[in-house]
């Protein structure tokens, strides 16, 4: 046979007879594939349609408030429904601050629990610990809120007061811990939110950590790493992207949390860095004021919902970028 320059140019070899009994044409078994593809596509599109529908309907309902206030809806903190003033900045601040507190407290604890259950705990303790943490997620948020307002707020006020009197005048620290302490405050809301996001952040982090290849652990141990050095050099770098993702999901949960925050944040809209001061959040004010609102007031509350929606999406987009950034930097070239 002469050397073929390319497969495409070669005619079928006449010496090889065609066996007519062999049919490689489709036997129709692929219809299932196309049906499945349509169903999956419809399911995927449905999510987008619902999302777009919600965004559109709420924006339209909120339009009277948006058009009345203009950009002031986002940049003013003057919320005075009786005089038709709807500036949401203080609520936006409250949502961001309480969620940030929740992350600062909740994420390290969650990573600690995840590392403990995956790396340190004796085998017989792993399941019970995991189970109890998951159980936290099953507690209704109103129960957290009631516990926060009835138990946590009064009991933690003395702690706030002593921190306040200890470091409330220290430059720098006074920025966070100054002002008059209140049981219902940004800090209390942040604490409750921290407890509420721990289950989801823990369970996602745990799953990410469990995917760290054994070969990575062995690489570190093989070099004479202690357990902590192994965790720091093999487990955490490998799972960093996933842990950031878990954190962002926790952040989404914290920002959207309504009733628990409404009960403990103090319902006193103000922009301050004093963590022990009362404040208010977007979701909280909607829950607290919806019943007494009408007209433009209602539109403004719906507008808060739209802003919350937008902020949440924004945070998620940023989170995805961050995750991708970490993954690209660490796992590929």
């Amino acid at each position: 046979m002469p050397p073929a320059s390319s497969v495409a140019e070669r005619a079928p070899d006449p010496d090889v007879p065609v066996d007519a009994s062999i049919s490689l044409a489709s036997t129709g078994g692929r219809r299932g594939d196309s049906i499945f593809r349509l169903v999956a596509l419809a399911a995927g599109l449905l999510v987008l349609v619902v999302l777009a529908g919600i965004a559109f309907a709420t924006t339209r309902q909120a339009w009277p408030a948006f058009s009345a206030e203009g950009i002031g809806f986002l940049t003013s903190s003057d919320w005075d429904p009786n005089n038709g003033k709807f500036g949401a900045l203080a609520f936006i601040w409250g949502t961001l601050l309480s969620s940030a507190i929740a992350l600062v407290i909740g994420v390290p604890i969650s990573i600690g629990i995840a590392l403990y259950t995956n790396e340190m705990a004796p085998r017989r303790l792993r399941r019970p610990v995991t189970y109890v943490i998951d159980l936290l997620a099953a507690i209704p948020s109103v129960v957290y809120g009631l516990w926060g307002v009835l138990v946590l707020a009064p009991n933690i006020l003395p702690v706030y007061d002593s921190i306040n009197s200890a470091v409330g005048d220290v430059p720098g620290l006074s920025w966070l811990f100054g002002g008059k302490a209140s049981g219902r405050s940004f800090m209390t809301a942040g604490l409750i939110l921290a407890i509420m996001i721990i289950p989801i952040v823990t369970s996602l982090s745990r799953e990410v950590i469990a995917t760290v290849p054994r070969s990575q652990r062995e690489a570190a141990y093989g070099m004479g790493a202690t357990r902590w050095e192994m965790i720091r050099s093999a487990v955490l770098p490998w799972s960093r992207g996933g842990i950031v993702g878990a954190t962002m999901l926790g952040l989404g949960r914290a920002m959207g949390e309504t009733i628990a925050v409404a009960l403990v944040i103090g319902s006193n809209a103000q922009i301050t860095t004093h963590l022990f001061s009362p404040g208010d959040s977007m979701a909280g004010v909607i829950a607290n004021q919806w019943g007494e609102s009408s007209g433009t007031y209602s539109a403004a509350l719906i507008g808060l919902g739209v802003v919350l929606f937008a902020v949440t999406i924004l945070v998620n987009v940023i989170a995805r970028r961050v995750v991708r950034h970490f993954d690209e930097r660490l796992k590929v070239a």
Partner: protein, 302 residues
């Protein structure tokens, strides 16, 4: 490979140091030149003396009654069929079996006379002196530089880190390929480069021993040949143990070969790994004294 390989190691007296209680006292300047090790008819120094080693995973006895000596500045190959316990034995030399919860070791692994399984021995210290290269290249998702610097940093060797990294990469025959991209992720290297990186990482702390667990099984023949050349290059400074599925590789690179196989245990319910024969590689492949070895090395494995 080398003609200097002394004959009949079993018949020669052991030259292990007198037992001493801690690792620190025993590891001297093992990187100092050891000319006598390469002169013919002189038994090289014994690094490891394995005595009646038994390894269990839970109730399952994986390896039974292994006795052998590992000699300094030689390449010792462990060969045998799957499940014969050769990797398990290799992992006893740096206590990597400790990481498997159910694993249990009986017997002694004397490292310059110190039992690695003595209660006072810290496995972390053992692994700092005895490097390991694994079956699959496993660089950290960090830069090439940080991969090599990992061991020295752990060991507190902070001085001249750049020189140390360069030396390790040169020894691993990787320097010319990566010197312009040291800050780039190691994950971007090819499989063969990654494995040489892992060897460089292991030798950056200048361990006395390098354990290699099927280091070429994930590599193509060209990358394999480079690793084999590299082993020959560095063996004057390191004692190398290699587990391999590839008999030709053992024949090519090693000075001594240990053949393991499996035997049905007396209860007849499972198979346990045993050391069949351990001798100079030349003899193992030309005139093995055990029929099972001969069947294996000639490809008539039964």
């Amino acid at each position: 490979m080398t003609a200097e390989t002394p004959p009949e190691p079993e018949d020669l007296p052991m030259t292990a140091d007198a037992p001493s209680p801690t690792l620190d006292e025993t590891v001297g300047d093992h990187h100092a030149p050891v000319p006598e090790a390469h002169e013919p008819h002189l038994e090289p120094k014994v690094v490891f003396d394995v005595q009646d080693l038994n390894v269990f995973y839970g109730a399952f006895k994986a390896v039974r009654d292994v006795n052998l000596n590992i000699h300094q500045h030689e390449i010792t190959a462990f060969i045998g069929p799957s499940g014969c316990g050769k990797s398990t034995v290799l992992r006893c030399f740096d206590r990597m079996n400790d990481l498997i919860e159910s694993a249990r070791v009986e017997g002694k692994v004397l490292y310059h006379g110190v039992d690695l399984y003595d209660a006072r021995v810290d496995p972390v210290e053992v692994r700092k002196r005895i490097g390991m290269v694994f079956q699959k290249p496993n660089p950290f998702p960090k830069s090439i530089y940080d991969n090599i610097a990992f061991g020295p940093r752990l060991a507190g060797m902070k001085d001249d880190l750049d020189d140390r990294v360069e030396k390790a990469l040169r020894q691993a025959a990787l320097w010319d390929e990566v010197k312009d991209r040291l800050k780039k992720s190691a994950m971007g290297l090819s499989g063969g480069q990654q494995q040489r990186l892992c060897i460089a990482r292991a030798i950056a702390v200048e361990p006395e021993v390098v354990l290699m667990d099927e280091p070429c099984s994930a590599l193509d023949p060209i990358a394999t040949a480079r690793i084999e050349d590299l082993m020959q290059e560095i063996k004057s400074e390191y004692t190398i143990l290699i587990v391999t599925h590839n008999m030709q590789q053992a024949a090519r690179v090693s000075d001594r070969t240990a053949f393991f196989t499996t035997e049905v245990n007396p209860e007849g319910d499972h198979r346990t790994g045993v050391l069949v024969e351990y001798d100079s590689t030349d003899k193992m492949f030309s005139a093995p004294s055990d029929e099972r070895t001969e069947n294996y090395v000639t490809g008539r494995f039964g």
